[in-house]
């Protein structure tokens, strides 16, 4: 994967454009009388079309930052901009619109609606966006064919393998042509081979459509294809590695990662 062409995503014109910016974000959870500082001032910027991995041990604030970026949680202080919109200012309707139209979510547990077919699952965000059923059906079928599931459209999630379910989830995430794809451990429940295919699919979609992909992951393969890796520790950005550094340090990263996880 390291052999793939040097990063082409952020060309000079797009460099000034950020899909996600966080400015000095903190997040404090109240656990009874105790205050837990999950994030202690995180400032990161993600460019349009980038493929980002967020890394960090459990309890580092990685998940909190991830949820912040996804508009799933609001900061205690600081600002989070998604596609240049400050999410703290949004009301419920605007937030729902953002989730529907700007962000595509991919989960470790796939989270397909169990009673719906693959096609209906992919149609659902389009229905929420107000698209009529016939158009939604056409478009959902088209996306499903792109993730090579044209033959499983009428199957329910329970009738599909994990890899197939995750591909349906990816198709669903792309349903409304979002600006950002948020993937939370997308390969966490998949075997090595299937996981590799999912990563390749995500990378390919990222290249083809220019969508920004942000994933929280422990998966080496995922790190290897990332443009940048943001390491989180103790609620702060520990370091940010660029793809260029990544190639040089390939060996050390894996070593470092091993320490981080175990």
């Amino acid at each position: 994967m390291t052999e793939s062409a040097p990063t082409s995503a952020p060309d000079t014109a797009a460099l000034s454009e950020y899909t996600v910016r966080t400015i000095d974000v903190t997040r404090v959870y109240k656990m009874g009388a105790e205050e837990v500082h999950a994030l202690r001032g995180v400032t990161v910027s993600v460019q349009r079309g980038e493929y980002i991995s967020i890394m960090g041990p459990s309890g580092s604030g990685k998940s909190t930052l991830f949820n912040m970026i996804g508009g799933l949680d609001k900061p205690t202080s600081g600002k989070v901009y998604i596609d240049e919109v400050d999410i703290a200012q949004l009301d419920a309707y605007e937030l729902a619109w953002m989730r529907c139209r700007k962000i595509g979510y991919i989960f470790q547990t796939f989270n397909l609606i169990p009673v719906m077919t693959a096609l209906e699952n992919v149609m659902l965000p389009m229905i929420f966006a107000g698209l009529n059923t016939a158009d939604a059906q056409d478009k959902a079928a088209e996306i499903l064919r792109k993730v090579e599931l044209g033959h499983r459209m009428m199957n329910k999630p329970a009738e599909m393998s994990g890899g197939q379910q995750q591909r349906v989830a990816i198709a669903r995430a792309f349903a409304n042509d979002p600006a950002i794809i948020l993937a939370d451990e997308p390969t966490g429940n998949l075997d090595l081979q299937t996981g590799t295919k999912i990563i390749e699919l995500l990378r390919q979609l990222n290249r083809d459509s220019g969508v920004t992909v942000i994933s929280a992951t422990h998966d080496h393969k995922m790190l290897a294809v990332s443009d940048r890796i943001i390491w989180i520790r103790d609620g702060k950005v520990d370091r940010i590695q660029n793809r260029a550094d990544l190639k040089i340090e390939a060996g050390t990263i894996q070593g470092a990662q091993g320490q981080e996880i175990h």
Partner: protein
């Protein structure tokens, strides 16, 4: 991959602009809710069966009580001195007694001293002549005007007595029925006492308090049963609710979805439960009180009980589903998905 080149009519606005999520029409929510019910039919039926049982219990208690009250009222009305029915029956009884008396005496005299038969004369076939055996007739109208053997011999020797006998059977039968109707309240009172139901005014008042307890208990069973079933069935869908929110569902849409689903379940379950409860109490009261159960059915109170049960069933079902759904919808989606199910 040409995601940009799509057939959609939806325009993606430029960065920095945000719009308000549209509210989907009720029809869309109904569509999805209906699909949910169809796909989860077995789970749905399990939950609904809980509603059915609870409502059947409540309904049968209310209906049995109403029917018992109806019987008490019938008894009180019948016994009242000015009851037209009572007076008419007494009048009829006297008439019938006057008419049956000469027939009885005529047959009785013939039966105790029947004329001798000729040697080879065959005795009258009683069952063929009257359509039922002596024993059956006795069961129907009581004691015969004389010894059966004597009667048969008399009728064989004097065939004109057969017609007299027929008349006696008809009138005696009607008399018996009239007396039975006149004694109805006494019979009912005995039935009630034998099944432990009070008939004395003071005891009836105490009974009502007991019934109220029973109704309260039935309500509690319905309350706990239905709320538990609905809470369970919604809690196991928290992840789904969180996912839907991530996909852009508004809180109101999720609540609507669950209102429609539970309304459907509630109405179907409640109606079946009410029918079952009514049938149970009708059958039960018929077995215990026979014809008295149907003497004066209090249709008004039964209708009121059905109304109460319907409201209780549907309201509990909807409340039991919508409250947790609303809670889940209000949560941040990530929290809803984190809830262990």
């Amino acid at each position: 991959m040409e995601i940009e080149n799509r057939k959609s009519k939806i325009e993606t606005p430029p960065a920095g602009r945000v719009q308000r999520q549209i509210t989907l029409p009720l029809r869309k929510a109904t569509e999805i809710a209906w699909k949910n019910i169809r796909m989860r039919l077995s789970r749905c039926l399990l939950v609904t069966s809980g509603i059915i049982l609870a409502l059947a219990f409540l309904m049968s208690i209310l209906a049995s009580d109403a029917m018992l009250e109806g019987m008490r009222q019938w008894m009180a009305g019948f016994n009242a001195e000015h009851s037209a029915e009572f007076r008419a029956l007494q009048q009829r009884r006297r008439e019938l007694e006057d008419r049956v008396q000469p027939l009885y005496e005529h047959l009785h005299l013939a039966a105790i001293a029947p004329p001798p038969l000729e040697a080879e004369q065959k005795k009258l076939d009683f069952a063929a002549t009257f359509g039922l055996s002596v024993a059956e007739l006795q069961r129907q109208v009581g004691a015969l005007p004389g010894p059966a053997d004597g009667l048969i011999t008399a009728m064989t020797a004097r065939p004109e007595l057969i017609e007299t006998m027929r008349q006696w059977i008809a009138i005696q039968g009607e008399l018996r029925a009239t007396i039975r109707r006149l004694n109805g309240p006494e019979e009912l009172r005995a039935l009630m006492q034998s099944s432990g139901v009070s008939t004395e005014p003071r005891a009836v008042a105490a009974d009502r308090i007991q019934t109220r307890w029973l109704v309260g208990l039935a309500l509690l069973v319905a309350f706990v049963g239905i709320l538990n079933a609905m809470l369970m069935s919604v809690t196991e869908r928290f992840r789904e609710i969180g996912t839907m929110k991530c996909l852009g569902a508004l809180d109101g849409f999720i609540v609507k979805l669950f209102v429609i689903e539970s309304l459907f379940q509630g109405i179907v379950g409640t109606l079946i439960g009410i029918a079952l409860g009514l049938a149970l109490s009708f059958i039960g009261q018929s077995i215990t009180y026979g014809r008295f159960a149907w003497m004066q059915v209090p249709w008004g109170s039964l209708a009121a009980a059905v109304g109460v049960c319907f409201l209780v069933g549907v309201a509990l079902t909807v409340a039991g589903a919508v409250y947790p759904a609303w809670q889940a919808a209000r949560m941040q989606p990530i929290e809803a998905m984190r809830v262990e199910t």
